[in-house]
Symmetry: C2
Subunit: 328 residues, 2 copies
C-alpha cells in the first residue's frame, strides 16, 4: 500500500471521502446542467471527469487554456468561457462547443472575428469587475446577433455576495443582484441565465445554472459559511526544524494562495509563511520528520502552484492527478 | 521586430535595462563569491547564467529541484541548499558541489545518510524559522564532523531585518543578529559565514557572502527601502472590460504573489484582484484591448506561477526565458 509518507513534500492532498461527499451533495441539489462546474477552482481534467460522472457535462472555464484542455480531455460538450477575451483566435480553433462571455462592442467583435459561434451577454450585477451595465445588455445582444453570433442568454456573478457569512444577508443581496440580471435577460432573451457560486448555490433560485467551483474541495474562507460541503484539500508538509517555542514545516508562499490570509492547521497556530516555510506553534510537541497538514485559505490560487494532486483515504494514497489546466 | 503586443497575457516582463543595471550594481558592490545569489527569487537558469557572467559562480537555492536544475544547467560549481531537508536522497545524487544547511541531529543524519559531503550549521539569529540556537552550533558541528561531513561554516538569515524601511534600524538590528552568528561561528569554525539579503547587502559587513536574490528584479516591497536597484519585473495584462468608474485587466491571483498585498500600477489605483482579474481606477481613460503593466508586491511567489519570462526593452521583445526551477 502506498501512503502519503511516500510523497515528497510539499504535496497537495485531496481527501477522497470529502470529495465524494461534496460531489454527491451538489449533484443532489443541482443535478445535471443545473450546475455548470467552474474548473478554475481545481484546473484538473481528472477531477472534472468525476464531476461529469456525477451528471454535470457542462463546464465553466476562466481561461482559454482551460477551454483547450477540457476539449482535449473529451469534456467539451458545452464549455463556457465566463470571461472576456480581446483575442479569441485560439478559442475559434477549439474542437468543442464553446460559448464566450461578452460585455462590449470590442469583445463581441473579437468573438465574431475568431469564428466563435455562441455568446452570453455578461452583465454587471454588483461586483466591480466585468459585465456591461444592465440597461446596455439588449443593445449588445442585438449587436452580437447582427454579427451572426448566437446569443444564448445572460450571465452575471454576484461575487460580492457569495462569501458573506450571514445567510440572510447573502440571500437578500443575491436576490437584489438577480433582479438586475433578470431585467437584462428580458432585453436579451435566450434560454440561459448563468450565475452564482458556491456561497449562493442554494439561494440563487433565478439562475438556470450555477457556476460553482469551490464546493468540490472547499477552503477555510468558504468553510465559515456553514455550507454542507466538507473541506477536502490540504497541503502535506514535513516538519524540518523544531525550536522550543515553535516548529517549521516545508510549505510556504509558493505552495499556498495567500490573498485570503494565512492557512490553518489543526492543533497548531500558524504564525507566518515565507517562500518555502510555515512557522507554527503546535499544541503537542512535534519532531523533525513529522508530517503535518495545512489547510489553505483559498483553494484556487493554491492549486495553481502545483503540478499534481494526490487523492488519499487517511494516509493511504489512492490516485495521483495532474493539475493539467494551469497557465493561460 | 517582435513586441509585447505579440504576447498572450498575462505575461511576465523583465525590463532588460533595469536587469543590467541591477546586475552591474550588485557585482560592483559584492564581486564574485562575496555574493551567493539566491535563485529562489527568479527560478530561472537563464537569469542565473547572467549572474554568473557578472562573476557570481556560487549560488543559493531553497529547494532540491532548484539544486538539480542548476546542476543540470552547468551552474553547479558551488551550490548551497539554504534550507533543511529530512530526506536528502535526491541531493546526494546531484552531480555538482552541494552544501546543505543543517540545524538538528535529524538533518545531519539525513545529509550523512544521503552521501552529501558538505554542510553549513544553520543558526537562528532572530527570525522565527529554521536554525539552531546559537549555543548549540558547536555541538552540531562536532556531530557532523563525527559523521565525516565537512563543516564549511555557518549560515543565518536576518529575515526579520531585511525589509525594515529605516536604514539605521536595519543596520543596528543586522549588527545584533550577526553578533549571534559570529558567536556561533567561533564554536563551529570553517571559512564560510553566509547571511544577508537584498535589504542588508551593504550593511552586513560580517558575512563572508551575502545570499541576496530580490535585488535582480526588485518588487514594490523592497522598492520602499531606497536601495540602488531598479524595479525590473512587471506583469503585462490586457484591458478586457471598461466601466465608467473603473477598468478590468486579465491578470489576477494566479499570476501574482499576494502575501505582501495588492500589486501597483503606474497612473492607476488598484482596487482588488480576483483569480484572473485586476480591477483598477485609471487616471486617464483606457480602452478594451489596451495593454497595462502591473508591478507585483513580492516577486518570488509571482514568478513561481509563470512558465516563462520575457526580457523587453520598452515594447521590444528581446528574449524569452523558461522559469525552469519551479516545483519541488
Amino acid at each position: 500500500m502506498k501512503t502519503v509518507n511516500d510523497l515528497q513534500t510539499p504535496a497537495l492532498l485531496i481527501d477522497g471521502a470529502a470529495l465524494d461527499h461534496n460531489l454527491a451533495t451538489m449533484a443532489a441539489a443541482l443535478p445535471g446542467a443545473r450546475l455548470r462546474p467552474h474548473v478554475k477552482a481545481h484546473k484538473c481534467t481528472a477531477l472534472a471527469r468525476r464531476q461529469a460522472e456525477h451528471g454535470h457535462r457542462t463546464f465553466t472555464c476562466a481561461t482559454i487554456r482551460e477551454i483547450e484542455g477540457m476539449a482535449a480531455a473529451g469534456l467539451g460538450d458545452d464549455l463556457l468561457l465566463a470571461n472576456e477575451v480581446v483575442d479569441a483566435t485560439r478559442l475559434g480553433k477549439v474542437k468543442a462547443r464553446v460559448t464566450v462571455a461578452v460585455d462590449s462592442d470590442a469583445t463581441i467583435a473579437a468573438a465574431a472575428a475568431a469564428g466563435v459561434r455562441e455568446v452570453l451577454i455578461d452583465v454587471n450585477i454588483g461586483l466591480p469587475r466585468c459585465g456591461c451595465m444592465p440597461d446596455d445588455a439588449g443593445r449588445l445582444a442585438d449587436l452580437a446577433r447582427g454579427k451572426n453570433l448566437s446569443v444564448r442568454g445572460v450571465m452575471g456573478y454576484e461575487g460580492h455576495v457569495v462569501g458573506l457569512d450571514d445567510r440572510a444577508t447573502r440571500e437578500r443581496l443575491c436576490a437584489e443582484s438577480m433582479e438586475l440580471l433578470l431585467a437584462a435577460h428580458r432585453q436579451v432573451g435566450g434560454e440561459v441565465i448563468s450565475a452564482g457560486g458556491t456561497g449562493t448555490y442554494d439561494c440563487n433560485r433565478w439562475a438556470t445554472e450555477i457556476q460553482a467551483g469551490s464546493y468540490v474541495l472547499m477552503d477555510t474562507a468558504y468553510g465559515k459559511l456553514a455550507l454542507p460541503f466538507r473541506r477536502g484539500l490540504s497541503v502535506l508538509a514535513t516538519v524540518i526544524s523544531v525550536s522550543p517555542a515553535y516548529a517549521v514545516a516545508d510549505c510556504g508562499l509558493k505552495s499556498l494562495g495567500m490573498d485570503h490570509g494565512n492557512p490553518s492547521m489543526d492543533e497548531a497556530m500558524v504564525l507566518f509563511c515565507s517562500d518555502e516555510h510555515i512557522t507554527f506553534v503546535p499544541e503537542q510537541p512535534v519532531r523533525v520528520g513529522d508530517r503535518v497538514r495545512v489547510w489553505p485559505a483559498h483553494i484556487d490560487p493554491t492549486i495553481a502552484y502545483h503540478e499534481r494532486m494526490h487523492v488519499v483515504s487517511g494516509d493511504e494514497l489512492l490516485e495521483t492527478w495532474a493539475v493539467d489546466l494551469r497557465g493561460w
